[in-house]
């Protein structure tokens, strides 16, 4: 009798004050997309949002159950969205801008926990703005920036023009270390294409769960690998920047090229830093040869590394080296006697240091799952083809949510369940959990892919849990 129109999508926009949320909002609102968009703001910033459909909210947390964070919702949103439901001229889209310090958890949970809102609104995605200039400082000093990244489906790395490529690579790596599945988009002045930000469908179980494949791979001791076609000759492996050991010595009048002396000063952020590398000959300068080199590279990384000081040489191929990149513009000599294809694997992504093999073009390259977790918030990915026992799976997830629900911010996955022809898909925020059967596997390889993002997650614990849910054939 009553008509149920399609649900109105809601994007939650998080990020620190000054990260560019308001700029993005104004860009979205000013574009000619023909949509009626309502904006719910927690704080009225200095820059006003240019729309009359801006509604102020007071960020009020309601605990629906004994003070448990997993059952905390935003009372202000329930009221405001309830009021918006009273409009007969419906909005096409809702944008919720949270304060810089807000926890996105209760915002997302509101859409899972409130029956009224569930029927009318569909959480589309959590978008987190990151200020490239200040992110590293903020994430070291405060909890919120890492949490906001952990909850994100999309991270807009904004103000990229204010930092160099090495910093961007470092920040992206750090973001991936926290949240292995969020998409990262670089923007200068919050200039992300609107269709990349709205209608993302991150919480839509009917859309295939897009999980970064690299993230689901096993963790490697390296984050990057590339192959080069090299002719015989001398090459220079060099990091970005001018080589000047005295750049940070605050105007000492003399020019002392003694490295030890420079190190003695122990300038902050300038501590002795090694980068581990593995060099291997490969069959050809292509992606297939790079993949074939992964196993030998892993073995090589397990062997002791030869320490190479600045201006030193990488004498042998194959070899495992720890090169000293403490100083900007550090360089290392590489002598190639036998022309051919070579693979280079780096502990960290070379872009973080602007590391380049001068005079050589990269024929193929790959990023590998980050193995370094600088932050206590991180992601765990499990990929396994073995079918799961539905009862054991429920038992594991149930136990996991009861014991770790507060620490798990987001989880999502596709499951290969024994005796079930269709993919089982699920996603959750803390203890809130949605699951359903999706399209049939058909001829596609049956494999479970699970991702957990949270605080102090122990990979062994998750792997053991998964193991307990594997069906005994």
């Amino acid at each position: 009798m009553s008509v149920t129109p399609s649900r109105v999508p809601v994007t939650v926009l998080t990020g620190f004050l000054g990260s560019g949320k308001t700029t993005l909002l104004n860009r979205i609102l000013s574009e000619k997309h023909g949509k009626r968009i309502a904006v719910i703001e927690n704080e009225f910033g200095e820059v006003g949002v240019d729309s009359e459909l801006v509604i102020g909210a007071e960020e009020e947390l309601f605990e629906t159950n004994n003070g448990c964070i997993c059952c905390t919702v935003r009372g202000d949103l329930i009221r405001i969205l309830g009021q918006l439901m009273k409009r007969r001229d419906r909005f096409d889209y809702i944008l919720i801008e949270t304060t810089g310090m807000a926890d996105p958890g209760p915002v997302a949970q509101t859409f899972f926990l409130d029956d009224e809102l569930k029927g009318t609104f569909q959480l589309d995605a959590i978008v987190t703005m990151v200020d490239a200039k200040h992110f590293e400082q903020h994430v070291d000093e405060l909890n919120e920036p890492a949490e906001q990244v952990a909850f994100a489906d999309l991270v807009l790395l904004n103000k990229t023009d204010l930092v160099d490529e090495a910093a961007l690579a470092r920040i992206e790596n750090r973001i991936r270390g926290i949240n292995g599945t969020a998409k990262i988009l670089r923007t200068r002045n919050a200039d992300a294409p609107i269709d990349k930000v709205l209608n993302v469908g991150a919480f839509d179980l009917n859309r295939a769960l897009a999980v970064d494949e690299a993230f689901l791979e096993p963790e490697y001791p390296f984050e990057w690998g590339g192959v080069f076609e090299l002719v015989a000759g001398d090459y220079l492996l060099k990091t970005a920047g001018e080589h000047d050991h005295h750049a940070h010595e605050h105007g000492h009048g003399h020019h002392d090229h003694d490295h030890e002396h420079a190190h003695d000063h122990g300038h902050e952020g300038h501590a002795h830093e090694d980068l581990e590398l593995v060099l291997l000959p490969v069959a050809a300068a292509g992606g297939a040869s790079l993949n074939d080199a992964i196993e030998p590279a892993v073995r090589a990384f397990a062997l002791p590394a030869t320490v190479v000081a600045c201006h030193g040489g990488l004498e042998e191929i194959p070899g495992h080296y720890a090169v000293d990149i403490s100083h900007p513009g550090a360089d290392f000599h590489l002598k190639v006697t036998k022309p051919g294809a070579y693979a280079l694997f780096c502990e960290h992504h070379p872009a973080e240091f602007g590391l380049k093999l001068q005079g050589a073009a990269i024929a193929a390259e790959r990023r590998f799952a980050s193995h370094h977790h600088q932050d206590d918030i991180s992601s765990i990915g499990i990929s396994d083809p073995r079918p799961l026992d539905p009862a054991k799976l429920n038992h594991w997830l149930d136990y996991l949510l009861k014991t770790r629900g507060q620490d798990i911010f987001r989880m999502k996955g596709v499951l290969n369940v024994k005796g079930e022809d269709r993919r089982q898909v699920f996603h959750g925020v803390h203890m809130m959990f949605d699951a359903q059967a999706e399209r049939p596997w058909g001829s596609a390889p049956r494999v479970s892919n699970l991702v957990f993002i949270g605080r102090d997650l122990d990979r062994a614990e998750f792997e053991a849990g998964f193991e307990s849910a594997v069906a005994k054939s």
Partner: protein, 346 residues
């Protein structure tokens, strides 16, 4: 006069008026001749309910939605509150705006007049303020820890109840001392309802429970088993019944004798979708309920669990209100129609 001794009653459509806004709230004048209407998109309208035929006129509004309306007892004046934060006093005779002000930057969520009509209480965000009926500030209560979502005066007008997250706060307004008594429960209170006999204060909760406190002993009683948030709560005029609703069924608790604890409530089943409005008849024991199933149902819970009459409307019902004499029901619909029904003996 409808025959009071008649065995049964029914609702008879009297008028159907086009309002052209979502009916968010309704308030009758004390004499039942007029009706003020709050529109979810912002319109404010005045209905000449006693006229032949009844008519409706939009007289103003609030930006982004009108949230509440209250009629000043025994006066030709009413107040509205809006998402824009404004409170507006309206002259119902001249159909004009008298005064408009913003108690706070937050939306003004709730309004209540004291039974004697001398005070108007407003809730804007965390701030509850007491005004004279002319809109002069009398007292602003210290901001609460959470947003005030509902307000009610008790029957003598000596206490003002405020529904908050985690408690009901009851401010004594007599003699301007403003002492506050708190009734706590760790969930969001959605309603505040004083029984007419002064014995109880009740609240529907977001955690799917109903709480009522004995005001003299402070004893807290909890009723559970609801389908979800208990959003509608109302005492019958004689304080015998407390009607509650969290879904399709209206659940009525009988406070006669030793009270409802340990007893089974009267469950009024019939709506096939959620009930969004109900009201007890002033001076009687009838209850009307309106739902998303477009049905307006008339009940007499003390006599039967069956609806004694059902009327189909034109859309989902969002608000129902009895006229103060208990002879007429105003029914607001989400698609912008306003129905007036007469209670008739059958």
């Amino acid at each position: 006069m409808p025959a009071k001794q008649a065995l049964s009653f029914a609702l008879e459509p009297r008028a159907s008026l086009q309002f052209d806004d979502y009916v968010a709230d309704l308030a009758w004048s004390s004499d039942g001749a007029q009706l003020a209407v709050a529109g979810g998109e912002g319109k404010v309208a005045l209905v000449a309910a006693g006229a032949e035929p009844p008519s409706i006129a939009v007289i103003g509004g609030h930006l982004l939605g009108t949230l509440a309306v209250a009629w000043q007892p025994r006066a030709a004046r009413f107040a509205t509150a809006g998402q824009d934060g404004a409170v507006v006093l309206w002259d119902a005779e001249a159909a004009l705006e008298l005064k408009r002000w913003k108690p706070s930057v937050s939306a003004t969520q709730a309004l209540a007049y004291s039974p004697g009509g001398e005070f108007l209480a407003t809730a804007a965000g965390k701030v509850v303020t007491l005004w004279t009926s002319g809109g002069e500030k009398v007292h602003s209560f210290a901001p609460a820890a959470s947003t005030a979502v509902a307000l009610a005066f008790d029957k003598p007008g000596s206490d003002l109840g405020v529904a908050l997250n985690g408690e009901l706060a009851v401010h004594r307004i007599e003699k301007s001392r403003y002492e506050t008594r708190r009734y706590k429960w760790p969930a969001a209170c959605l309603t505040v309802n004083f029984s007419g006999n002064g014995r109880f204060i009740a609240s529907g909760m977001a955690d799917g429970t109903l709480h009522f406190w004995n005001r003299s002993t402070g004893k807290d009683s909890q009723m559970r088993g609801f389908e979800g948030k208990v959003q509608l709560v109302g005492w019958s005029d004689n304080s015998r019944y407390l009607a509650t609703c969290a879904g399709n069924d209206v659940v009525v608790w009988d406070f006669s004798g030793r009270g409802p604890e340990g007893t089974r409530p009267i469950v009024l089943s019939g709506h096939t979708e959620r009930v969004d409005g109900f009201a007890w008849q002033p001076g009687g024991e009838h209850l009307v309920s309106g739902g998303r199933d477009w049905r307006l149902a008339l009940w007499r819970p003390g006599k039967t669990r069956e609806a004694i009459d059902v009327q189909m409307t034109d859309a989902e019902i969002s608000a129902v209100r009895w006229s103060p004499d208990g002879k007429r029901v105003a029914v607001g619909e989400k698609q912008g129609r306003l129905g007036i029904f007469d209670l008739v003996a059958r």
